[in-house]
Symmetry: C5
Subunit: 125 residues, 5 copies
């Protein structure tokens, strides 16, 4: 998939993110509306303010993990936090913090506490 360049003749809110090399197509309003105070919302609220870099297809470049970003984008789409079995919650938490999505960070930390036994000191996974 190359980045979205919607057919001419109509105004469009669609854009494509290039997160660490993987493309996500979504709308500006998804990124901006659900958590208006997040850094992600600020990055995409005004087209020119943040000076986001674009690749040669027009997708906005963000140097982060695509896999852990996916549940965050779904959360912004419909307000539900849904994570597949086998996906490390700590990875999603790291991205939620980076993008400044506060409420989701709190949910993820609560979820982490539920899944980890109190005396688990393992450094990863």
């Amino acid at each position: 998939v190359s980045a979205v360049s919607v057919k001419p003749g109509a105004p469009s809110d669609w854009l494509t993110l290039n997160i660490g090399g993987r493309l996500f197509t979504t709308t500006r309003s998804t990124l901006v509306s659900k958590e208006p105070e997040s850094m992600l919302a600020h990055m995409f609220r005004d087209k020119c303010v943040w000076g986001n870099r674009q690749d040669e297809h027009g997708a906005y470049l963000i140097d982060r993990s695509p896999e852990y970003f996916e549940p965050i984008l779904n959360y912004l789409r419909h307000g539900q936090l849904i994570i597949n079995e086998g996906v490390n919650i700590r990875g999603v938490l790291e991205e939620a913090r980076f993008f400044g999505i506060e409420q989701l960070g709190d949910q993820l930390e609560a979820a982490l506490k539920n899944t980890q036994p109190p005396d688990d000191h393992s450094p990863i996974s």
Copy 2:
């Protein structure tokens, strides 16, 4: 894979959906026939009514999760609900509700009840 633009010289029912950046190739009749009253069927029954946006390759843009849409498309193809281990049923349910596929939503809710213990209050997964 770029979007399908079937070779000229024959009428075609084939189309490509761009769901959140991933492409799904299917036929209009798959989207319309199995659940004719769903929102998804309404979106694709008449070519011009809903004004679906298309990307530059002609794929129809839908701002939703591709991963959880996949079992829904398979259900529309052959009528069976089949979900892989590790895929969160709640994610599929969220999409079934969004696309207005009622009967599938009921099946998914029944499946959720079977898999979750009655006193499980975990917020995710």
Copy 3:
């Protein structure tokens, strides 16, 4: 990957399938030889008989699940049925039946009986 269009100057048996939007490159003899009476073999035995639709890169369009087709193609390549943990056997069975690969369908049903407890009435997974 775009569809295979082998370099000119040599006869070729190679072809690409576009299964629900994902491309599989294989040879005609793989599709035809192992199970010559299957619908899949009939679809590809004679180049023009079935009127298979092709996308603009020449890949043959089939409106089915790519994920569950994968072990079927491997079976046709080397005769072994090999399925990863976490992949729903019922999904593979659904495709084996669709493509009319009888012997594989029988193997899959036997495998299903081994994995499911006798009193399990869960509708999915």
Copy 4:
């Protein structure tokens, strides 16, 4: 990713394999050095002897499973056999035998014996 065609001006050992539709970029020395007597090494030792077919981007066509080939390529890169949880060892064994990588086949058979209980007669997975 299209096949590698390295920038002009320097000799190159890089090549791309199209295994069942997925592209793997590696070097000829990786394919040839670690197991010089394997069929895979013979296929790529001499450029023109085996008449490997190439797709239109120059990637070498091999009609096998990409998923189970991946750990084999990693083994040829660094000599370690590493397989993810959930990936069927029998699938990797099938490919190791096909490509004639004897020592790896022995390792895989030993690993299979360790993971299967002695009275398990299940046909798959």
Copy 5:
């Protein structure tokens, strides 16, 4: 996704790696800053010194496993080691050693000890 060639008119630190055929988009400072003494940092600190090969889209060719490289790149982005369930830690360790990221190698070896029972002599997984 083709390799990043950022739009003209501004200096850029963005680059794309082609690791075994999969593309990772990141910045030079991510590769260089976190572990300045690693081989990876040395490879990308000076543009021309190491003579890294590039594919025809300008992505830097590295003949290693893309799957096991992914958590390493995330570690360089934010300093956390996060690995999904099902991904073999030994695979990540192999890459950390190859790229000379010492501190991460130590963390991975500690994690391995925690997950393996002391009398486990299994050769893989």
